[in-house]
């Protein structure tokens, strides 16, 4: 299950943080752990892809503030 299109970087990063925290805190359940690990790898991949986007877009509002 790849992260959905509308999932943004912030959400993906947050989920990755939660997974890391889960492993640090308990993570005794191996089956759950394996699932979470897989999900973590997907999220990390998604985040890295997002980070490789080169540009910030700048859009100047058409409405004139400068008179």
């Amino acid at each position: 299950m790849a992260p959905k299109k509308e999932v943004n970087f912030a959400k993906a990063f947050e989920e990755l943080e939660q997974i890391t925290e889960w492993f640090e805190r308990d993570g005794a359940d191996l089956d759950e752990g394996l699932k979470k690990f897989e999900r973590g790898l997907e999220l990390a991949k998604f985040c890295k892809e997002k980070l490789s986007e080169v540009e910030n877009k700048v859009e100047t509002i058409k409405k004139k503030f400068v008179g």
Binding site: N8, F9, A10, F13, L16, E17, I19, T20, F23, E24, G27, A28, L30, G33, L34, K36, F37, G40, L41, A44, C47, K48, K50, L51, E53, V54, E55, N56, K57, V58, E59, T60, I61, K63, K64, F65, V66, G67
Partner: protein
């Protein structure tokens, strides 16, 4: 014939002449405030004194809605407005705009306003909101002519990507700056949920107190305070400060610093992601190893246990065999001794030594008196028997 006018008609005519000849706000009149007072929290009344001729005074009237900021007696100001003659009063100026003049007055006005807003809780730390860690959209309020614009975007691009910057091109100094900045705030806050920036940046380069007046204007400070979108304010150089800085959720020291405060550094985040994945992987491997250890230990314990059982069983069998052997031995010994005993009492063994057994019929004769002459008897020897008759 001279035209006769009522007093009120004459005043109306005079006001008409004044209005036509001295346009509202056409001049800035500079002087020193005296007799400053605010009535009912709404009406501002004061006189403007002339520097040259102490007797020259101009009555001024304003409202707190038009004139924001804090003023006091002795402060040098410039006022803009329209003159009129009120029927109930004298010649006066309806003030539309008023600004302190000179560093001293500006500084004093700044201090007074700062104190007032502070007391109102506009700068309270408790109301500061945190800005999102990874904003998608940034509302940028600054002038495209300013160095601040370039500085902000350069640092933003160095650090982070994938962000949409919505730029409101406004004047950051001069008489329109205040209105521009306020309407930019209104614009951003009025956007729908999907277009709304996650954070607003209000920024400009450094300058004198006069240059920064818009960033110390009460209405702009209130716009920062009232924004439902968190605000980062970055003005000038490290040491410059503005009232907007204090009202903002995050105070940045420069336009570049504003970019640093808003977006993380790509390299830091890449490192963090790498560390998180490694950490999770390590933990998982350790857990798996732990499991392996448990299984191995269990195997060892089981083997040990079984070994023990086997040894115990062997012992039991050994002991059982031992017991059985000695039991068989004792049985054999008993049989042997019985046999010996039996053999000792065997009467045929006595016969072999020369004794004989005398029977009458089947009865063994132990007393000679039981026999009479003529009785038939059988004599048994060790080997063979004979029949005889008693004489």
């Amino acid at each position: 014939m001279d035209e006769v006018l009522s007093v009120s008609d004459f005043l109306r005519l005079a006001n008409e002449v004044l209005r036509l000849n001295i346009q509202n706000g056409a001049f800035a009149i500079e002087g020193e405030i005296s007799g400053y007072s605010v009535k009912d929290g709404k009406w501002i009344i004061f006189s403007l004194k002339d520097e040259v001729d102490e007797k020259s005074k101009l009555k001024c009237f304003a409202t707190v809605y038009k004139v924001a900021g804090s003023f006091e007696d002795g402060m040098r100001v410039r006022v803009w407005g329209g003159p009129s003659i009120k029927p109930w009063s004298d010649f006066q100026l309806d003030v539309q705009r008023m600004e302190p003049v000179g560093e001293g007055a500006l500084k004093r006005a700044y201090e007074l306003l700062k104190l007032k807003l502070e007391q109102e809780g506009i700068f309270a730390l408790a109301r500061k909101r945190s800005i999102p860690k990874f904003p998608d959209r940034i509302g940028l309020i600054t002038s495209s002519d300013a160095a601040a614009y370039g500085d902000f975007l350069r640092i933003l691009n160095n650090r982070w990507s994938g962000v949409k910057v919505i730029h409101a091109d406004v004047r950051v100094q001069g008489k329109d700056a205040v209105d521009h900045i306020i309407s930019a705030f209104d614009y951003f806050n009025g956007l729908g949920e999907t277009d709304r920036p996650d954070v607003i940046v209000l920024t400009r380069g450094g300058g004198s107190l006069e240059d920064l007046h818009a960033f110390n204007d009460e209405r702009v400070v209130r716009a920062v305070y009232g924004s439902s979108i968190p605000v980062v304010c970055g003005v000038g150089h490290e040491r410059d400060e503005s009232l907007c800085d204090y009202a903002a959720d995050v105070r940045a020291s420069t336009p570049s610093n504003a970019a640093e405060r808003i977006v993380p550094d790509r390299r830091d985040v890449e490192y963090t992601i790498k560390m998180m994945v490694e950490r999770v992987g390590d933990t998982l491997h350790r857990r798996l190893d732990d499991r392996g250890q448990v299984i191995q230990t269990a195997e060892r314990v089981m083997a040990h246990f079984l070994e023990g059982r086997k040894r115990e069983a062997d012992n039991v069998i050994q002991r059982l065999l031992l017991q059985t052997n000695s039991w068989i031995l004792s049985i054999r010994q008993r049989i042997d001794s019985e046999e010996r005993l039996l053999r000792n009492v065997d009467p045929t063994r006595i016969l072999s030594r020369g004794y004989s057994i005398v029977k009458s019929g089947t009865k063994v004769i132990k007393d000679a008196k039981t026999l009479a002459a003529g009785d038939e008897i059988t004599v048994q020897f060790a080997r063979g028997t004979v029949d005889a008759e008693v004489k």
